[in-house]
Amino acid sequence: MKKMKLVVVGNGMAGIRTVEELLALAPDLYDITVFGSEPHPNYNRILLSPVLAGEQEFDNIVLNPRSWYEENGITLHTGRTITRIDRARRRVIADDGGEAEYDRLLLATGSTPFMLPVPGKDLRGVIAYRDIADTQAMMDAASAKKHAVVIGGGLLGLEAANGLKLRGMTVSVVHLGDWLLDRQLDATAGGLLRRSLEERGLSFLLGRQTEEIVGNAEGEACAVRFKGGEEVPAQLVVMAVGIRPNTALAESAGLYCNRGIVVSDVLQTFDPRIYAVGECVSHRGVAYGLVAPLFEQAKVCANHLARLGIGQYQGSVLSTKLKVTGIDLFSAGDFMGGEGCEDIVLSDPAGGVYKKLVIKDDQLVGACLYGDTLDAAWYFKLLREGRKINDLRDTLMFGESAIGDVGVAGQSRAAAMQDSDEVCGCNGVCKGTIVKAIKDQGLFTVDDVKKHTKAASSCGSCTGLVEQILMNTLGSSFQETPKTKAVCGCTDHTHGEIRKAIREQHLTTHLAVYRFLEWRTPNGCATCRPAVNYYLLSTWPKEAVDDPQSRFVNERVHANIQKDGTFSVIPQMKGGVTNPSELRRIADVADKYAVPMVKVTGGQRIDLLGVKKEDLVNVWKDLGMNSGHAYGKSIRTVKTCVGSEFCRFGTQNSTQMGIDLETMLANMWSPHKVKLAVSGCPRNCAEAGIKDVGVIAVDSGWELYVGGNGGIKTEVAQFLAKVKTSDEVKEYSGAFLQLYREEAYYLDRTVHYIARVGLDYIKRQIVDDAANRKALYERLLYALEGLPDPWAARIAGAQKQEYIPIKLIPAGEPA
């Protein structure tokens, strides 16, 4: 089939990012031609400020060298501006008369700096700050001239002023507003910023309105005059008062524009053959000027150009960082507050720290940080997720590290870390390696970093830290992990969407799911298949059929794989209680199969390590015990203390309670592993405070706690309810676990699930609504009823081949 022709007008970050995304999805669909007005290949416009400040070189900010265009078969025309679109004949016409045909056209014409319409704006020495040519002009001016005036105290203006100052000029910043960055900061933070920039030698003229740029006889700028007659010397005037979407081309072609080329949620203009992305578009009435939204647009647009037709762009929540080395500020959302909002403010002007959090309806809706931005990523996450923060409110101001967490998760001080400090403990990746990869390979997302460095790709506990490093390295071009993330590369659907489809469409097989949700791969991958398998089984118990090939090896063979390919065997030992006969059998098995290590586990059981796969079935048979499920996303163990039977402090029979719970939950699959504990008194010897369900006996009954976790990131369980009888313990715990099984996303522990839906929601479902609690409990018992012990099933012959290797001996070999 003849390839279709795609013409891209605009060789900048938005256009080329779209092309990159498109090539990843459909490398052979189009012949691609790119036109760019600038004489350069695609470069990282965001890094112009570091170049101006002398911290980066032009050569290092190129994102796609010319060789990239060649390798991907893209025809690149630099230094050629498209001046006309002939929509009827589907051609674009360049300023040199050249033409190109298109089947699809992508407009990524970016924006133009807005020049104040004052007398003298066309004098030599008056420039905008937009591209490499402007940056070069500023650098040239800095070496020859003395006085610079920057008009506009926004992000770009301040970065330009800082760079010119570092290059030795005397710089004044003129700003119409009452404080600097008045669209990104409130007055207090703006004041702190001003003070710190003044300490660096910049001077500020606030509340001034520029009336004229005064020129000399040679037609060069020499001063700026304000309303009221005041004048300051200026041989270089940088206009940084704002940008305007560049819509001239689109308008001349009759495309509907309204402060930007108007596009739909799939980035299509009013002409269905023409798409537009980047700073030139107006989406739902908003034109974006930062890079993160452009990348989101690029992803959606590429998907539609690739004819996959999945995904919508629904607008972006923005955050701001200033790329001036040594000044930390961050803002996001509605940081000014106002009616119906509450502010939490920490102000330490002498220490140069100011933080303001704006809360509305129990949600974080805005943040403005100055001087200490280490928790910016966390606040931004809370803001985007719209999560209820009432449970965090007391410590919200003190950041993620203050929320009762002694683990290593994310709150470490990314900015303060040395390059040689380890970030990812699992894969041994240092900060320096990550920063280098981000810069050299042009990475923008946590997923990119995971792929290229392996950091955060194993246990994931350093994801927050990696996110911070990305933020610190990239500034405002940081692209946060989208809150609605696709499960894997096989689909654009999220966990929530997949669960919903399985439930509402009554899907009961893998194939039905892949078909209905239009998977890109024929049979999924190692990431999505186990998730889909779990969703099918938990949504349609006794109806959906388990697919062993969609399970990780441990769950398929019912033992835990070790680094040398042998397995560990942990028999069930309810409540940690055993007897001489079991212990004898365990000892005999260890002898008979020469088990290299016998170890007591943290869950009060006995682990036989180093068992060969082909011995597993016989080991189970000789043990004569049930599976302890110590290998699955399933019920693990119920840890208990001695309780009132023996302990002089015990208030209830915690041991029996634990045994009863473990009996009830036997063979239960879940989104992730589930651990319980029952303590006989508040001394809590069974460590119930860090379990998914922790039960603590008191004299008058039992206290139930949920969402604890002793793993990667230690989390203390939260109080759910107090009940009187052991039957109630079973009903409440069972109902909570069933809710988790029905609603959590695969690989979310209970703590993650509760963080997503809120403890209030759990309490409403379990504690307040007795009928719902009973229904949940019934559904759990129904799902578990009749499930066979997996070891017994395999002793009886199930999946026999799995455990038997085939032996092949070529002729001539000794047998």
Binding site: P522, C525, R529, G565, I806, A811
Partner: protein
Amino acid sequence: MNAPATQQWLRVCAVNEIPLLGSRLVECPSGNIAVFRTAEDNVFALLDRCPHKAGPLSQGIVHGETVTCPLHSWNIDLKSGEAKAPDVGCARRYPVEVRDGDVFLALASA
């Protein structure tokens, strides 16, 4: 794939004795070999050692024409034995054929 003269073809098992989207472990004097079966009934054979840390590929999840190592989730292409980017490495391939529903593997003669 033709076996060199020093190799001999040996019958392993029937195709349907390998689970769909699964594998069987074949023990040979020269080392363990993993024999995989895809959804389309294509059969591939690789040395049962991940190029990363020697994980048993035969225990991995098979999807498309790829197996994911059970130890650290490297993705190995069944056809070429090569690790998928950004990982780098290669697992040894063995000639394998299906004849009349039986799987044959070419092994070096002694």
